[in-house]
């Protein structure tokens, strides 16, 4: 499970139907008016002279206000949850911290406290980041040159990194391979600045990390 993805879906699943309903109501009303009140239908007719409907428009504003209040509530409720999870500062025991360095046009990950570093083996091969699946992983992101943006579309989350600043965020990945990209334009080979998150069972991750540590 990925809490960022869950929160995203919870908001999306509510906002999309609301948007669809509003779109349908407005467009159907518009098309009905265009058909019903077209001059060609009865050329002799005079247009209505009413130029305001204070009561009906006032009520409409109240309804819009209520819908907006609900949208704001739904937004803030889920934003609070996402930020609470991604902002988890004190990692529980055994939560790996990954020092993430973005530099044009590659990613470099260091497992804090172990000295294990993963880099891109050569151009156009994404850096492979191995993490334990379904548990929090903490990132400490920096950039060496320009603004970059760590984005893993599968977990619906991105965060910008830039020079002289460390930005922290926590994510949890479902088992499997997830493509990561640099979402902020960073120059010539921006479109190739990829990485891959391999989320594996905890035991396999621990074994992998120990093996890499021993190999140093």
């Amino acid at each position: 499970v990925s809490p960022t993805r869950t929160q995203y879906d919870d908001v999306w699943d509510v906002f999309l139907p609301i948007a669809g309903a509003v779109f349908a109501i407005v467009v159907l009303t518009l098309l009905f008016f265009l058909w019903r009140y077209r001059l060609r239908r009865d050329p002799g007719r005079q247009p209505d002279e009413r130029v305001a409907g204070t009561v009906i428009e006032g009520s409409y504003v109240a309804v819009i206000g209520l819908i907006t209040a609900f949208i704001v509530y739904w937004t803030l409720f889920h934003e609070t949850k996402v930020d609470a999870f991604t902002g988890t500062t004190q990692a529980a025991r055994g939560v790996p911290v990954v020092d993430t360095i973005a530099a044009r046009w590659t990613w470099r990950f260091t497992y804090r406290g172990t000295g294990v570093v993963v880099v891109s083996p050569h151009d156009n091969t994404p850096t492979a980041l191995v993490v334990p699946a379904d548990t929090p992983v903490r990132f400490a992101g920096r950039s060496q040159d320009v603004l970059h943006d760590f984005w893993v579309p599968d977990v619906k989350f991105q965060r910008q990194v830039w020079p002289d600043h460390t930005e922290y965020w926590t994510l949890s990945f479902p088992p499997g391979r997830h493509l990561g990209v640099c979402a902020w334009f960073c120059g010539l080979r921006h479109q190739n600045m990829h990485f891959v998150v391999e989320a594996v069972p905890r035991a396999r991750f621990d074994a992998w990390l120990q093996q890499r540590e021993a190999a140093r």
Binding site: T4, Y8, V11, F15, A19, F23, V26, T29, L30, F33, L34, Y37, R38, L39, R45, P47, D48, E49, V51, A52, G53, E57, Y60, V61, I64, I67, T68, I71, V72, W74, T75, L76, H78, E79, K81, D83, D145, V146, L147, W151, P153, K156, F157, Q158, R159, Q160, W162, P163, D164, H165, E167, W169, V181, C182, A183, W184, F185, L188, H190, Q191
Partner: protein, 534 residues
Amino acid sequence: VSAPAIVLPSRRFGWLELIASTDHKRIARRTIAASLAFFVGGGILALVMRTELAEPGLQVVSTASYNALFTMHGSTMIFLFMTPIALALGLYLVPLQVGAPAVAAPRAALAGFVLYIAGGLVMWAGFLTNQGPGRATWIGVDPLSSSINTPGAGMDLWVWGVALVHAGFTLTGACILATALRKRAPGMTLLRMPIFTWTMVATCLMVVFSFPVLVVAMGLLWADRQWGGVFIGNDGAVVYQHLFWFYGHPAVYVMFFPFVGAVAESLSIFSGRRFFGYKFFVPSVLLFAALSTSVWGHHMFTTGQVSNRFFALTSTAIVIPAGIEYFDLLGTLWKGTIRFTTPLLFAVGFLIQFLVGGLTGVMVASPALDYHLNNSYFIVAHFHYTLFAGSAFGMFAGLYLWWPKFTGFRLREGLGQLHFWLLVIGTNMTFLPMFFLGEQGMTRRIADYPRSSGWETLNFLETIGAYVIALAIAVFLVNVAISMRRRIPAGPDPWDGQTLEWATSSPPPPHNFDVALPPIRSYAPLFDLKEGKA
């Protein structure tokens, strides 16, 4: 029956008049012509980009060229096309709509035009430099735009171009604002100003409030490129984004309100009735403008450095004034006598398509969604639905509506309707698939995408759509050319207009009104006259 004598406008053309006329109508017409030229230029850049993206791999341009292309496409469309043409509509029409003989501070308005042309040429001169023009995105974000990461004179020219045009727009905006506030004819109280004039008042309030910030930001960026040390430290990149978006979000509505005004005027004229809900609409536009100055942080949700809750709240609150505007625009059609002219079609296209941009805007105003959708093609789709499918359709409604007033000749209805339907098809073919690509994880500003991504079909469809848009614009240009070669004189009031610009000749004389103004007893004085209520 003999046709009434028609005096065609003089074709005399003096160079001094071209560069030094302080007639707001001449300045505005030249601005419209220049912005349409930049529109075609920016559109050609987009066509090259879409051609490159038609299939995976690099076939047409290098990544370096692609980066220059999308930077200059965005910069041209926003800085040199949408903003100036939005202001030019106001510069032409606000003095006429409030019954003034001239714009306030006409020499400042002329200076605004000169700065706009100079800045546009400076920015495009970057194409002549060795390392190419600006290529650090239309927001020119530091540190990418620093002299280390983007060296070369082309980028400096971009910085200067942006600074010059926005200094110019600030002057133009101030002139229009002062005209509406201080030069109204007797009887033209604030609450009798036409809807379009009100949208321009809100627009120009945002211009004078936010555009100077961009001029200053460009000055700082230039200093940073010269000597370094400006956007540094642990928040340097964030400070630049704050400065840019403090300008950038009001600017989005600067490119929107004037066209809402054009749509409102089109709807009331072609519905044959007065605008509905004036006393809700006017405060809603002002509320909209006020909110626009406190939403910029939603561009920075993914920095983790702004109060996401505050900016989510203010951004979502925009729904309320926007909802009021939609109610009034639809209400104006209610029980009207609707004539299906080209401006009406474009106004209807605006209403439907802008709604897609607006509703997806509510989505990206929600941080939990924006954490994923930001910087993806979803955002590209969202802002093209607002700015192109929305604002540009509103702009064409305005151009078709007021073209007879600007030039004295009519555009052809048949070609106008062909233009409209082609543009509807092209626009939705190009931009609708982008929502799906972005949601699937396609990043914006990339010259290439992996073959394994499965994005080829939709991208190919978008590319075809882009060429349909180009065809639609070509039809528009043909329409303009035909209207100039085979002139059909428009007369002062070809559409049965309601506001004062239709009370004078087309085009109006240098001092705007040869005839006495009709009495002004409402926001639709000509309608009063025709109804016998004046």
